[in-house]
């Protein structure tokens, strides 16, 4: 019962935050399109796309590898411990 009371208080608190957030403290900033950026600043888009996709692949594969390694380690330790108990 007390938990529910607290949940209600929290929801009320969030509701109190809403009107404050509905106002806009910052005027929208100017948008600078790509072609207005000085030519020296421009980098070929293909590099960006390749870098983005490359990073995603490397990060995901690296994480899968790290999990697999840790799982293998933990499982061998677990079977070790369990065999020792018998």
């Amino acid at each position: 019962m007390r938990h529910w009371l607290r949940v209600c208080v929290l929801i009320l608190a969030l509701g109190a935050a809403a009107p404050a957030l509905a106002l806009q403290p910052q005027p929208p900033k100017e948008f600078v399109p790509v072609d207005e950026v000085p030519p020296g600043e421009q980098i070929p888009a293909i590099n960006m796309v390749a870098a983005a996709y490359g990073f995603v692949w490397v990060a995901v594969l690296g994480y899968v590898w790290s999990i697999a390694r840790r799982l293998k380690h933990v499982e061998s330790e677990l079977s070790d411990l369990e065999s020792r108990r018998k």
Partner: protein, 227 residues
């Protein structure tokens, strides 16, 4: 409900009695805050003059650094004397103990700010007397939001290894919204042409975050402090 406030008041009184006798936390925190301001002045002052519009940022950075120090110390003292366990064993509501700890910390930080704010104003030409009401509201609300989360985390960290380094690491990312509101609001009051409505808006957002942080802290204090 009156029991809640009585317990909170007892905790505040206990902390204040200890602090009045030793004055350890107030003095170290204050000196640390002044040192932070000094280091900032070395970093940004050029040709004997500070750039405009830096006072708000420096003030809040000093408050947050000094606040972390004070939080760590109040609970370190409890841990060192092993009195936190006794405090938690007392037949009192956990949220009331939390509220008392928070109020004590607010009083301490308030004392520090009474000296820190005029000092920053003096060194960085901030017009603190232009909107005293708004500035005080910002300071109280900002310190409350920061200290609410800080008290909870410092209390939880008592049982954890490497607590001194972990407190700022955990606390700063979470209190970023409060810091942003505090700095933006204060900067709106300190700038060459003060923007009152903007300051009022940031105060409103700040108070909303305060309500959220305090509610959530009161709510989580009980389960996290139970063995």
């Amino acid at each position: 409900m009156s029991g809640f406030f009585r317990v909170a008041w007892q905790v505040v009184r206990k902390d204040m009695t200890v602090e009045v006798r030793s004055k350890e936390i107030v003095l170290t925190t204050l000196l640390f805050a002044v040192s932070v301001v000094l280091i900032f002045s070395f970093a940004i002052v050029r040709e004997g003059r500070a750039p405009d519009d830096v006072a708000a940022g420096i003030l809040w950075v000093a408050i947050s650094f000094a606040g972390t120090l004070a939080m760590g110390r109040t609970f370190e003292r409890e841990r060192y004397n092993d009195t936190l366990r006794a405090l938690l064993l007392a037949p009192a509501d956990r949220p009331a103990i939390y509220a008392g700890k928070l109020l004590g910390l607010l009083l301490l930080l308030g004392l520090v700010e009474i000296i820190l704010v005029p000092l920053v104003a003096l060194l960085f030409n901030a017009p603190i007397l232009a909107f005293p009401g708004k500035l005080i509201t910002l300071l109280i609300a900002g310190t409350l939001g920061f200290a609410a989360v800080g008290t909870l985390f410092a209390a939880m960290l008592v049982r954890v290894r490497s607590r001194d380094t972990l407190l700022p690491v955990l606390l700063y990312p979470i209190t970023v919204p409060v810091m942003i509101c505090g700095v933006r609001g204060t900067a709106a009051l300190f700038q060459a042409t003060p923007d009152e409505p903007l300051a009022r808006l940031w105060i409103a957002i700040l108070i909303a975050w305060d309500v959220i942080f305090v509610t959530l802290s009161l709510w989580t204090f009980e389960p996290v402090m139970t063995e």
